[in-house]
């Protein structure tokens, strides 16, 4: 395993990509500091970038170690959030620029994946490659397999009904691209996942030969791969029960919010249809009037502006709000899966322990190594999961804070636009009035 992200270090805050200097440039900017977690030195010595991961003996459980080192246990949640966000970032990724590719066999979209980094694990400070959804899917599977104790962020839906959704519509591609960007950013921000060699390949290799991935992935499965060994967990520890309950309730609430949002969209669309109709009545009335023609047409104009603003609002809801909700539902499913895997590994450990204890009672056989390994695995899993949980919670808070304030902003803009339309109408009508009054008095 690779080096974990440095923590507990003074940070001057995140730097935007444009301000990041090349490590070899003449600037005074110091290189990101080397982590001073000296305890781990001996364990990490044999590892360099790109080497095959885990030795079977003792998976370096970074979260566990970090937890032991972490001195401040009781950070306030908000401060913690801030803390996490101002970690020294040295890996920046972006997904943009969708392009359609037409070949004889198929048509598909690729996205540009840009990377800027100062990490030594990468050969170059910048990369630019093109990837398609399949590639992201490959990456995710590889991450899941190689880091089973960690929560892997979700991808947007893989399959779309060909008849129902246009896979090449601007809207769909845009939404998907944003989700892929988020996925990659989440992975890049993760203290453990971001050092995964598969991520490295994904970001740097020109032609992602997926079979190459298989070669890298040696016997990962052995120590950490889950055995569907029929081990049944007796009792989930309370902290993980709480997690499970939270996830269930949260998922339910998100589902309800999704349904309400969809209903609002429907009602809004019907409202806008009637409103357009209403505006056109003013226009046709204006046709039979002379003095009132301009005022009536102006009212029709304001109504029309409001319709436009309403359309924008609806679009925002379906493009920005709903996808995030749905993504979190997927995220929750991922998290639940990880919890189940954790349960499995605990069940395995307990099962083996029981068997070993029985055998020792019978014929004094010492505790096999496997049992200890299982125990380590469980502890490691628990620690990783807890760390990831905290991180997930913090990201969730940020994401939803952003989402809700974003929606509130959009709503405010909608009303501001409408207000402006009506205010200009009042000005117009009152102008005409004072004009007329002036004529009268003359």
């Amino acid at each position: 395993m690779s080096v974990g992200a440095p923590r507990g270090l003074a940070s001057s805050g995140q730097k935007p990509i444009t301000e990041m200097l090349h490590p070899l440039s003449a600037a005074e900017e110091p290189l990101p500091p080397v982590p001073d977690v000296s305890d781990r030195g001996d364990k990490e010595s044999g590892l360099t970038n790109g080497t095959p991961p885990v030795e079977a003996s003792s998976p370096a459980c970074t979260s566990l170690l970090i937890n032991r080192l972490q001195l401040e246990e009781n950070l306030e949640a908000d401060a913690r959030d801030l803390y996490i966000s101002t970690e020294t970032k040295d890996l920046f990724v972006t997904v943009d620029d969708p392009k359609k590719h037409v070949s004889t066999m198929e048509t598909y979209i690729t996205y540009r994946v840009s990377t800027k980094t100062t990490r030594v694990e990468f050969d170059l400070p910048e990369y630019c490659v093109r990837r398609r959804y399949q590639d992201f899917d490959w990456l995710r599977i590889k991450l899941e397999d190689s880091q089973p104790t960690h929560l892997i962020p979700p991808l947007p839906e893989k399959f779309v009904m060909k008849g129902v959704v246009d896979r090449f519509s601007e809207e769909f591609v845009e939404t998907r691209m944003k989700a892929l960007d988020k996925f990659l950013k989440r992975v890049a921000d993760h203290p453990v996942l971001s050092f995964n060699p598969h991520l490295n390949s994904f970001l740097s290799v020109k032609d992602l030969n997926k079979r190459q991935g298989l070669a890298l992935l040696t016997k990962v499965g052995e120590s950490v791969k889950q055995v569907a060994g029929g081990y049944k967990l007796r009792a989930r520890p309370p902290e993980f029960c709480a997690m499970g309950e939270y996830l269930d309730t949260f998922s339910q609430k998100l589902g309800t919010i999704d349904r309400i949002a969809q209903r609002i969209l429907k009602e809004q669309s019907e409202y806008l249809t009637e409103l357009r109709d209403y505006g056109s009545v003013y226009t046709s009335w204006a046709g039979s009037e002379d003095e009132l023609r301009r005022p009536l047409e102006a009212v029709a104009g304001s109504v029309s502006t409001c319709c436009g603003a309403g359309d924008d609002l609806s679009e925002n809801m379906s493009q920005d709000f709903l996808p995030v909700l749905r993504e979190y539902v997927l995220y929750i499913e991922s998290m639940k899966n990880v919890l189940r895997k954790r349960d499995q590994s605990q069940a395995e450990y307990e099962g083996r322990l029981e068997a070993a204890v029985l055998r020792r009672q019978e014929d004094k056989t010492p505790m096999p190594v496997e049992v200890e390994k299982c125990q380590d695995k469980v502890e490691c899993f628990n620690a990783d999961l807890k760390a990831d949980w905290e991180r997930w919670q913090s990201n969730k808070r940020q994401d939803f804070r952003q989402l809700l304030t974003g929606m509130a902003d959009k709503n405010i803009h909608y009303y501001e636009k409408c207000q402006a339309a009506w205010e200009s109408l009042v000005t117009l009508l009152q102008e005409k009035q004072s004009e007329d009054k002036g004529i009268e008095t003359n």
Partner: protein, 428 residues
């Protein structure tokens, strides 16, 4: 309910008390010397109350009554303003007054009454006549009606109007005028189909315009009701967010407060639509006034057609009678007639009989000439009066509707302003 002495300056523009004479016609000049009832008297419909009583068929019914308050503006001999007079009137009494005025002044575009029953209702709005909001809006509408009538150069001087405003015994007075009979025949006549030979272009255009106005205002009212219905739906669905945010906040630690306040904001937002739409009803009422005005305008045009038609009929009748006389006198039959035919076949009648018939005919011709004179005068009077009225109506309509549109826009602006402030509170 408060007394509002000048409640309608926002919605209606009343002509200033001194208006210059608008015509040279002597009869009309008399009433257009610039003073209307409203200059001498303050009028308002201050309150509404529920009453119960037995109706014409002896059945118990509930109805609303409206308090009409009047006060003379001229101070009395002691220099103090006189005390206000007041009495209670039912909606049906207002209807009676309007009906009387329409029959008595057929060239006037009659000011509208508020609707008898709630129409163009959107889903949640009550169609119940006893609903307090409906009664309140009706009160305002009745006041508008009285103020318009009392500031009209022609209508305001009517004695029956004065009785309506000040005396309990006005019903007897109005029935004594015998207008009821006229009203019935008028309705019949106006609804009959007849064709005018030489229609007045101006009136034809006006009638066409009144049809347009009627069509557009009713279209607008229907469309507005549908929009209100939909908007109500949008706002109310947001209320569902309130509950789910509240439930969600229960499982969150750090986000809990933020979610709770977001939930409260959603509830407040959903609740705000009731007041917004109630206020919009005032705009709808103003449009309804002009729907009614359009009908009244059309009636004036129809009345003109009727008088024109009657004149044409009378003229035609006179011409044919004169022709008959000529034929009888000279014995020369110019046009085919059955009488002429029978004469030819069976011989002419005796001179004595012919004399008798001539005499009758002369009488009829004299009568006919009077009728024609009468109808011509009626027609001319109606044309002149109506033409002035229609100009006046047009000016008032332009002003009123522009005010209505401004107020509608102001309403929309205040509605837009309500939302962002509460939204930013919860977002932080």
């Amino acid at each position: 309910m408060h007394t509002t002495w000048v409640s309608l300056s926002v919605y209606i523009n009343f002509p200033p008390c001194k208006i210059p004479p608008l015509s040279t016609n002597k009869t009309l000049q008399m009433v257009e010397d610039g003073s209307t009832l409203l200059c001498r008297m303050e009028i308002c419909v201050a309150e509404a109350e529920k009453r119960s009583g037995k109706n014409a068929m002896g059945m118990q019914e509930t109805f609303s009554v409206y308090l009409v308050e009047t006060r003379l503006t001229d101070s009395g001999p002691d220099g103090r303003n006189p005390a206000p007079d007041c009495l209670w009137r039912r909606y049906s009494e207002f209807e009676l007054l309007r009906s009387y005025l329409m029959v008595t002044y057929p060239f006037v575009v009659a000011p509208p009454l508020p609707e008898k029953r709630a129409e163009f209702v959107w889903h949640k709005l009550s169609a119940d006549n006893m609903d307090p909001d409906f009664v309140e809006r009706r009160r305002v509408g009745l006041e508008n009606f009285l103020l318009r009538v009392a500031s009209h150069p022609v209508l305001s001087n009517n004695k029956i109007l004065y009785h309506f405003l000040t005396e309990h015994g006005w019903r007897e007075a109005v029935y004594d005028t015998g207008f009821q009979a006229k009203a019935d025949s008028r309705i019949r006549a106006l609804s009959a189909t007849f064709r005018v030979r030489n229609p007045d272009k101006g009136f034809v255009e006006m009638k066409h315009y009144s049809d347009e106005l009627q069509s557009h205002t009713s279209q607008l009212l229907r469309a507005r009701a549908r929009v209100a219905d939909r908007l109500y739906g949008v706002y109310k669905v947001h209320g569902n967010y309130g509950r789910v945010f509240s439930e969600w906040s229960a499982i969150e630690k750090e986000m809990g407060d933020g979610l709770q306040s977001a939930g409260h904001h959603m509830d407040a937002y959903a609740a705000s639509i009731d007041d917004i739409l109630e206020e919009e009803e005032h705009y709808a009422d103003q449009i309804k006034e002009y729907l009614s005005y359009a009908e009244a305008l059309r009636t004036v045009c129809r009345k003109h057609e009727l008088t024109q038609f009657e004149l044409e009929v009378a003229s035609q009748d006179l011409i044919s009678k004169k022709q008959q006389r000529e034929e009888l006198a000279t014995g020369i039959v110019r046009t085919f007639s059955l009488k002429g035919m029978t004469n030819k076949l069976f011989g002419q009648e005796a001179p004595v009989q012919r004399e008798a018939r001539l005499k009758v005919l002369e009488e009829l011709i004299t009568e006919g000439e009077d009728t024609v004179k009468e109808k011509t005068a009626e027609c001319e009077e109606h044309v002149e009066g109506a033409w002035l009225e229609m100009q006046r109506f047009k000016e008032q309509k332009d002003k009123d509707l522009r005010e209505a549109l401004i107020n509608y826009a102001l309403m929309q602006i205040s509605m837009c302003k309500k939302v962002p402030s509460s939204s930013t509170c919860s977002a932080s």
